[in-house]
Amino acid sequence: MAEDVIKVNMGELKIGRGGDVLAAYGVGSCVIVACYDRGLQLAAMLHGILPEKPGGRRQYGENKYLNTGIDNLVKLLLKEGISLKNMEAKIFGGAKMFDISNGQETIGERNIRTAKETLSAKGIPVIAEDTGSNYGRSIEFYVTDKKAVIKSFAAGTKEL
């Protein structure tokens, strides 16, 4: 069966069903959250750019921030009838592409931390992750079997 590839660009949140592939290409410091129902063939993918709105004020309805984006992602899945206790997540990305170190936590690191904290506050376990390091990734998430294929120039191909 031919799969339908649904591209999830920066700041977007999309839903996929059995047979669909949710894909984010060329991910650097952004963090990709794939959240799905343990039993059903239903998943959503978020492509978050920053941990939160600069200045710290929460602004609802924005998918480019990981905190509010994950809120929206969970709401979307709840609306589909999935219960919170059946949700699992896999997260990808958050690389430090350029080594200009000034001792501060990088955007990638902050993105990973915020994604984990937000998911954990909702009680959603992170089942697998391929995060951090210094290279870009392309992620294809197969909704049918909840497997992700991660490709990178530096580290080849992985399945998670």
């Binding site: 060329g26 650097g28 600069p54 592409m97 200009i100 290279y135 120039f153």
Partner: protein, 207 residues
């Protein structure tokens, strides 16, 4: 928030500024490589930061990118990218080796690429900051060899922390013999863009 529009006058003035910068960048590159370098008319667009990666490339092409942060009166990000399959030729020319001689990308080669990027970007910045009377101080250069999308995503995330849109000034420089095309991007944030436009206005009126 609506996208800012540039007037024709502003666009022309920015193009001229881009040309001045590109002229000195190309002459620095030409001296380093000992070759003629041609430049194209710069392209200048205002983009919402999250659309920047999409605008630049829709493929997973691998590039060598030298990245610098710019501080001072102008807060910006500067990036120069070389196609990965031409990096060895670039090193051959830089190190005055026979074309095809460089075969590995070790420490020396990596710092040589960083240094090329540093010199080109600094030449560009020096000439534009002299022209408009604003200072711009670059950070140390950083290098990444990776998917062009991943590189631009990362740069746009950094810009997104400062403003919702940015000005993208793109210059292309070509070495004809090897057909090496390098692209340079200077991306000021919104506040710096306003400062540049104001300074340009004063410079032109005062002239």
């Amino acid at each position: 928030m609506a996208e800012s529009k540039l007037t024709d006058f502003q666009r022309d003035a920015l193009k001229e500024l881009g040309n001045i910068g590109a002229g000195s960048a190309a002459s620095a590159l030409s001296q380093m490589l000992g070759r003629d370098i041609s430049i194209d008319v710069p392209s200048i667009v205002m983009v919402p930061v999250e659309k920047m990666a999409e605008m630049i490339s829709r493929d997973a092409r691998i590039v060598a990118a030298v990245y610098m942060r710019i501080f001072g009166d102008i807060q910006a990000r500067a990036l120069i990218i070389f196609p990965q399959d031409k990096v060895f030729l670039l090193l051959d020319m830089l190190m005055r080796r026979k074309l095809g001689q460089t075969k590995e990308f070790g420490e020396t080669e990596q710092s040589a690429i960083k240094e090329i990027g540093n010199i080109i970007i600094s030449a560009y910045l020096n000439s534009i900051s002299k022209f408009i009377g604003l200072n711009a101080v670059p950070s140390v250069p950083a290098l990444a060899v990776d998917m062009v999308d991943a590189i631009f995503q990362t740069v746009s995330a950094e810009l997104a922390e400062m403003s919702s849109e940015a000005m993208l000034i793109e210059n292309e420089m070509t070495e004809e013999v090897t057909n090496l095309k390098s692209k340079m991007f200077i991306i000021p944030d919104r506040a710096s863009m306003a400062r540049i436009l104001e300074a340009l206005n004063n410079t032109i009126k005062g002239a």
